[in-house]
């Protein structure tokens, strides 16, 4: 057989015309391109859902404001919550997993590249379908617009009688589509991790990010069917006259809450674990120490995964469960704080005695540690049933979960962006703009969400479109809104930085951070085939072994 010359594809995408570039995105099955497409799309939805949040805050800035009509307000907070969870959080995880897992375990691509592309397009069209509801939901019925039932869509609000038109159907169908996308992407990442590791990459040598991604994707497989099943039942109720959530025919509105939160609470950890994963990679590199307690980290993550599927009803203490039920879910919620605490101590243990470099990714990680601690503490407070009865559905709860999802998840993701951007683009993000982004975002975050705790303690309920003056909430709400503006400006600076640094940033080279995992051995951005030679791994820090042949890690790890 004669050896034919293989035409190499053009190296720089800029040589191609716009249509060619678009075409290459549509037909791609490359895990790196798909990963970046996931992340870029998620950031697009982050901006949209963020603008919705700003509108919500402007409406609440002063009492008896008339900026947003009540029904528009309902749509805005529903779309904000739904988008942030399903169109921002989930695809960022899928994107991060897609981009990093094959690189970190030293393989060429995912196990099922075409399935991978399918997952992305399902997610994208699911997301577009959700926003198309603004135009399509009135349909023939002439009622409704975007979904307005809250991101957890409690029955009976979603019944035919209370949700006319098609807004709730758009909510159901778009999320079913994105769930299919998330499921196939989760299967793909699990299979890749289990079956495509490079020689020597035993399970207990995998980078922690890969381990944590494995756990989080297993949780997606366990939790998402809860939502999909409940949504199918809701469709049956709405279109076939079923009675699942129809209390007049003996159905139960409470069971919707159970089904939703069987999905909903693991979902919180599904979002959080990838943030933990990024921290577990970034903190060691910028502390110049290997991660403290690697096996404990793996164990603690698995524990979080297991316990978090048995805590769902702590969202439902006020619904009138039995005292046995309340006690069980309170205790299991306390339990989940233990492995989470272990993780915080491990990160601190890694930093302790290290030579810490305060680069941008590390700054976001440090802020994460402070904020996640407070988020965890308010979480434990809310797990105390009587306390929960007092503050459920108040701004205290809103403050608590925004502390986890913004203060921890989003900060973790920003850390990951600053850390891996040079690998994906080949250029470093600008440090000066990054510092502005960091400090403005930290200040904005605390101004917004610290004050929310107090308006909650003073009795301000969630989801109200306005409030009367004289309740003592005016100043707090105004301050909260000011903080939101800070955050918006910070995200704008980040967006500018991302776009500008792609052209003008400092060249990164293969390994700008002097890191230890396999993705830094290849060029930035990595070639289509990832690695010229199949890497062979002998320890948890293969790149350290390569850089320090006189003092390799495997000597210590093998003697462990």
């Amino acid at each position: 057989m004669a050896i034919r010359e293989i035409a190499l594809p053009a190296n720089r995408a800029t040589d191609l015309s716009f249509v060619d570039r678009l075409h290459s995105l549509v037909v791609t099955v490359d895990h790196k391109k798909l990963g970046l497409m996931y992340i870029a799309t998620a950031l697009g939805f982050l901006v949209v859902a963020g603008l919705l949040a700003v509108a919500i805050r402007l409406q609440l800035a002063i009492p008896v404001n008339t900026l947003l009509e009540p029904d528009v307000f309902n749509r805005f907070f529903t779309m904000h919550g739904t988008s942030m969870v399903f169109l921002v959080g989930m695809p960022i995880i899928a994107g991060l997993g897609n981009y990093l897992v094959p690189l970190m375990i030293g393989t060429r691509d995912m196990a099922f590249p075409r399935l991978n592309a399918f997952g992305y397009w399902m997610f994208l069209f699911g997301g577009l379908l959700l926003y198309f509801s603004y135009l399509g939901a009135p349909g023939l019925a002439g009622h409704g617009s975007a979904p307005d039932v809250g991101w957890f869509a409690y029955a009976p609000l979603t019944g035919r009688a209370f949700s006319r038109g098609n807004s709730t159907d758009y909510w159901i169908l778009s999320l079913l589509l994105t769930s299919v996308g998330s499921t196939v992407s989760a299967i793909n990442i699990i299979v890749t991790t289990i079956t495509l590791r490079c020689p020597g990459m035993k399970l207990m040598r995998m980078p922690l990010l890969v381990w944590l991604m494995l756990v989080t994707n297993f949780m997606i497989l366990l939790a998402l069917p809860g939502l999909s099943g409940a949504q199918i039942m809701l469709l049956i109720d709405r279109y076939l006259g079923g009675h699942f959530f129809d209390t007049q025919a003996g159905g139960s509105a409470v069971i919707w809450q159970h089904f939703f939160w069987i999905f909903g609470h693991p979902e919180v950890y599904i979002l959080m674990i990838p943030a933990f994963a990024s921290l577990s990679e970034i903190i060691p590199v910028f502390s110049r120490k290997p991660i403290f307690g690697y096996p404990i980290m793996v164990g603690a993550t698995t524990m979080i995964g297991l316990i978090s599927v048995s805590v769902w009803a702590h969202h439902m203490f006020s619904v009138g469960m039995t005292s046995v039920g309340n006690t069980f879910f309170a205790i299991s919620t306390f339990l989940v704080a233990i492995p989470t605490g272990i993780k915080i101590f491990n990160w601190l243990g890694t930093m302790y005695g290290g030579r810490i470099r305060f680069e941008l990714p590390m700054l976001f990680c440090i802020a994460f540690l402070f904020q996640f601690l407070i988020a965890g503490l308010t979480g434990v407070m809310l797990a105390v049933v009587p306390f929960n009865w007092q503050l459920t559905d108040s701004y205290f709860v809103v403050a608590h979960f925004h502390y986890t999802l913004v203060g921890a998840f989003l900060f973790g993701m920003f850390a990951a962006f600053y850390y891996w951007y040079p690998k994906a683009v080949g250029r470093l993000l600008d440090r000066r703009l990054g510092l502005w982004h960091f400090w403005l975002f930290v200040i904005g975050f605390h101004v917004t969400f610290d004050t929310m705790h107090f308006s909650g303690l003073l009795g301000m309920p969630r989801r109200i479109f306005t409030y009367d003056a004289g309740r003592g909430w005016e100043t707090l709400n105004f301050v909260t809104t000011v903080g939101a503006v800070f955050q918006a400006v910070a995200v704008l600076l980040f967006a500018i930085n991302v776009v500008r640094s792609a052209r003008k940033g400092k060249l990164a080279g293969n390994d700008p951070w002097d890191a230890w995992t396999l993705e830094w051995t290849t060029s930035s951005p990595p070639p289509v085939y990832n690695f010229e030679d199949v890497p062979i791994v002998r320890s948890r820090r293969p790149l350290w072994d390569l850089k320090h042949p006189e003092d390799p890690d495997w000597k210590y790890e093998e003697s462990e």
């Binding site: 699990i190 099943g229 039942m233 076939l240 006259g241 025919a249 003996g250 089904f259 069987i262």
Partner: protein
Amino acid sequence: MITEALLQPESRLPSSRKVAVACLVLTETCLFSIFVAAYVFYVGKSLTGPTPHEVLELPVLSTICLLSSSVTIVLAEGAFKKERKRLFQLLWLLTLVLAAVFLMMTAVEWRRLIYEKGLTISTNLFGTTFYSLVGLHASHVIVGLCLLLLVLIFSLTGSLVQMHRERIQMISWYWHFVDAVWVVVFTVVYVIGR
């Protein structure tokens, strides 16, 4: 020397297809669990009749058909492995026929329930949960039937070769899963729930 020792664990890594189908089965199990939970939760909570006790009959014959199709598919797999093509096709066809008989008997049961007993999906909670759960299972049988049919066509046209052995095995795994779900549905709906 070192590479030799290091390469070994990799060659022992499981096949991608098997892990993927196992994951699919896991997530499908969770989906069915939700529907089974809803069924169990609503047993006896219907405000109006008919009740399961009044209208349901034990689907013994269709259950035998479905469960024995799990046996025939295993035998077919064995025949494929030994490259006995005719035997494989016969056993595969038998599996397909058994699945089709199961579906047909479900259809007959539903027809009887709807036209004679007046039980539809909107009649009461029992109808809602019954048709959802059994229907979800039946839809999985339909998917399995399509897969079985495709394999039979490929085999008859001669495009099915030994290379595809693992794919045959995966369809068999899926089919066993559908059967196992039926055992649960049968127990919950027709034995305990009645």
